[in-house]
Point group: C2
Chain length 202, copies 2
């Protein structure tokens, strides 16, 4: 008897629309009406699917981080330093649209919005990312590709911070594709030499 909609799809569609508007106008400058318009819905309808603007925002970030987390989990360990460097390079070489979202991400992440729980949640994500790099590094140390003297755990975490900085700057300052590539290449080259085991070839 009743009208029935795919609620999960609806939620996702709304988040897609919200993300588009956030990237265009910024989080704080976007009104719920803006999101509704972008989603071709009335404002009231949004509140059927999300209990507040905050909840919508949290959902966007959650979905985004969950996607990357999944990607990381699926990744296999690199068997050579070169493969690992390739991995790092690709992490930084994000499409412009994703870099733009990064910009929103840090706006949302300012003290105005982020609760302690939310902060913890995202902090955990970056710790996970750091652990992933640490695992790769430890593995390559065992294989003699990366110098033993590095502390895999903290090096992994600082790598996560540094890569994030590179991507963020691209999104914030609209660094051109060409320049960004060049920057990445230099960083990766330096990483390679810096990590390399002294007994390794070359």
């Amino acid at each position: 008897m009743p009208k029935i909609v795919d609620k999960e799809k609806m939620r996702n569609d709304i988040l897609d629309a919200a993300m588009r508007v956030f990237v265009e106008k910024g989080y704080h400058a976007t009104t719920v009406s803006n999101v509704a318009e972008a989603a071709s819905l009335a404002k009231g309808t949004l509140y059927i699917y999300f209990k507040s603007k905050d909840a919508m925002t949290t959902a966007i970030v959650d979905r985004h981080l969950a996607g990357i987390t999944e990607q990381i989990a699926a990744e296999t360990l690199c068997q050579t330093l070169d493969a690992f460097l390739e991995d790092l390079q690709q992490t930084m070489d994000v499409p412009a649209e994703q870099a733009a979202f990064h910009r929103v991400f840090f706006e949302v992440f300012g003290p105005s919005f982020a609760s302690d729980e939310f902060t913890d949640h995202v902090a955990q994500f970056f710790d996970k990312l750091g652990s992933y790099y640490a695992k790769q590094i430890a593995h390559l140390q065992k294989k003699g590709e990366i110098a033993e003297h590095h502390n895999a755990v903290s090096l992994g975490r600082v790598l996560a911070s540094m890569l994030d900085g590179v991507v963020l700057h691209k999104g914030l300052f609209g660094i051109s594709e060409r320049r960004h590539r060049s920057m990445i290449k230099d960083a990766v080259t330096m990483f390679g030499k810096g990590l390399q085991s002294p007994t390794s070839s070359e």
Copy 2:
């Protein structure tokens, strides 16, 4: 006959107060009244010294960046790779309060606030910072301390992004002093090996 105040000092005091509140509550969550209270002034008084909240914010960022720019300009060229690495290390090893401001900085820098001119302004600052590193690198390449194959310009710029990422993460996620130090140490060690000229000693 009239009452006279030191307008420049007043402006600075107001900016100090605003900065304190921004760090505590976040930029978008801070009202002009909050700033007034923190400065022990009435709201209307603020508008004698700044024509809008935006103008106040821009002034804060300008002052902050000008301070760093000055610092950079005063810096002399490093004569050894170790000295340069020490420089990088100190850049990342910022006091907690400055890292906290970084957090606000990126919130302000979201698309909600930042105009194109403002973005350009800050982009230029980071380019300047990148140029500074590039100059150091080029100098050390001439002295045979850093490998010739690096492109000083783009390596300098990517260094700026990476260091920024490290500092930002400290501010955002409240990474502990101990952990942060450990991360910095690893990064610097890696930088050292990565930059080092193959003909160099050690």
